[in-house]
């Protein structure tokens, strides 16, 4: 059962450069997908189409069978997007306010908003600081708050753009543990990275993009070997002939 279906997707930047070229892709419900590629490969642009933030030049994107163009609100409710720069994603004046921002926009009743925001903060381990200003949080806490802001909207799919960027070892492990737990709870996870080392052990599928096209797609163990020819570094363990170990061990 596919939750996201992309057919013949094309997109161009405002300056005329092609950012996505003939993308055909389906993502199964409940899967854990890693989308890798060098900078400028089109990963973030592809994710924004799943959320209805960009309009395709050609092709269609469907979420749960509904066209994103026709009902972008449905796409945004179903696909929660965590951006790379947590600082500009956090809009609330306090940690709680930010978690409640999405549910408020969905026009939920006040009780449901509170329950959902507090549960999301609990899930990411920020329930003890609801009144803290987001500006005073550490980088890892900000990233977790950005995830909480999306979780509070109870989406089925969570797409994350470079969730490990600028995080220390502990920060990476916390975010990774969060993603693994969310996947175990039935969510579909799509993680966009340029460094496979941290997340590949948990993925069921690896997609590699290059210059706006999907150049490799399949189980990580078979696709990872050709990653380096597309500008993505192979994990050290694979290079030495072993398998990628989880950072959570």
């Amino acid at each position: 059962m596919d939750i996201i279906e992309i057919v013949g997707l094309k997109h161009r930047y405002p300056d005329g450069r092609t950012s996505l070229d003939q993308i055909d892709l389906t993502i199964a419900r409940g899967s854990f997908v890693v989308l890798a590629g060098a900078n400028g490969a089109g990963k973030s642009t592809l994710l924004k189409h799943c959320n209805g933030l960009l309009t395709p030049l050609a092709g269609t994107v469907r979420v749960c069978g509904v066209s994103v163009m026709q009902d972008p609100l449905h796409a945004r409710r179903t696909v929660g997007m965590v951006f790379q720069d947590a600082d500009s994603q956090i809009v609330g004046e306090t940690v709680y306010d930010d978690a409640a921002f999405g549910p408020e926009n969905l026009n939920w009743p006040a009780d449901r908003i509170k329950e959902s925001a507090l549960r999301a903060l609990q899930l990411v381990g920020l329930a003890t600081m609801p009144d803290r200003s987001p500006h005073l949080l550490s980088g890892g806490e900000k990233r977790r708050l950005a995830i909480a802001g999306v979780l509070a909207m109870e989406p089925e799919v969570i797409v994350l753009d470079e969730p490990f960027a600028n995080l220390d070892y502990d920060g990476v492990r916390r975010i990774l543990a969060q993603l693994v737990a969310l996947h175990a709870s039935g969510k579909t996870i799509v993680v966009c990275v340029h460094d496979l080392e941290k997340v590949l052990a948990h993925a069921g599928r690896l997609i590699i993009m290059r210059e706006g096209r999907i150049v490799a797609d399949g189980p990580p163990e078979s696709v990872v070997l050709e990653a380096e020819s597309h500008g993505v570094r192979i994990p050290a363990a694979v290079r030495l002939g072993g398998t990628v170990e989880s950072w959570l061990r």
Partner: protein
């Protein structure tokens, strides 16, 4: 002052529990009463503001320290009014035209501004920013031609992003110092070197923010986190109106 003024501190005091709409209404009423109040009434309002700050678990001394540059501004207002208002001279010195009426007018102007600032601090200190935003939205709703939801969101975003822009500015200044900006004597070049990247960065942040808000379904129809007005709120409002009447009565 920024650290104190924009700092909500959670607490369990009566002032924290009071609805934001009542607190904002009280701020408006006392400010208006202050326009017609004399020095004794302003002195009383000042004392009440101090007591309320203590009641809200906000150290009045810390507030005064946080407001030191604002107090300098008030001192300037006092001096300017003292020297420019015509009336009876206090000193027989031609180069110091201070008048009794000037001192009175200066104290009145500075006193009004001080009382408003202290009460404003009290409101921000004891009220969650989201409650202030919701209260502004609620209070603006009856006014025609004002997009109350957008106005309230703008206020919320302003409060949220002032520290971010200040932090970006500090980072930019450090980066410029690391590249020896001090050696540049031209103030215009120094200002441009700071302002242009900061402006560009702020615009990029604003763009990303707009995308992030869109991704989280931001739109016209939102749930406003407003509580129903209870007897406590009405009682507080009656006390505020009574206090304003007292201020006007003793003026």
């Amino acid at each position: 002052m920024a650290a104190v003024a924009f700092g909500f501190r959670s607490g369990r005091t009566v002032l924290h529990a009071l609805d934001a709409r009542v607190k904002l209404a009280a701020l408006v009423f006392v400010s208006l009463a202050g326009l017609y109040a004399g020095l004794p009434a302003l002195g009383l309002a000042f004392l009440v503001a101090f007591c309320l700050l203590a009641l809200g678990r906000c150290s009045p001394l810390r507030c005064i320290l946080g407001m030191k540059w604002y107090l300098v501004l008030l001192a300037c207002v006092l001096i300017a009014r003292t020297l420019t208002t015509p009336g009876d001279l206090i000193f027989e010195l031609p180069w110091l035209p201070a008048t009794r009426q000037g001192v009175h007018a200066g104290l009145l102007a500075a006193g009004r501004l001080l009382v408003i600032a202290l009460l404003g601090l009290l409101v921000t200190f004891t009220t969650r920013p989201s409650d202030i935003r919701a209260a502004v939205e609620w209070l603006l709703r009856p006014i025609p031609f004002i997009p109350h939801r957008q106005a309230a969101t703008m206020i919320g975003l302003l409060v949220r992003f002032i520290p971010v822009i200040l932090s970006q500015s500090a980072e930019q200044q450090e980066a410029l110092r690391a590249r020896s900006i001090e050696n540049c004597r031209n103030p215009l070049r120094r200002t441009t070197a700071l302002a242009m990247p900061l402006l560009r960065r702020t615009c990029v942040t604003a763009d990303r923010l707009a995308s992030a808000m869109e991704a989280r379904c931001y739109g016209a129809e939102r749930t406003i986190p407003c509580r129903p007005v209870t007897a406590r709120e009405w009682s507080a409002l009656v006390v505020v109106v009574g206090f304003c009447a007292l201020m006007l009565g003793i003026s």
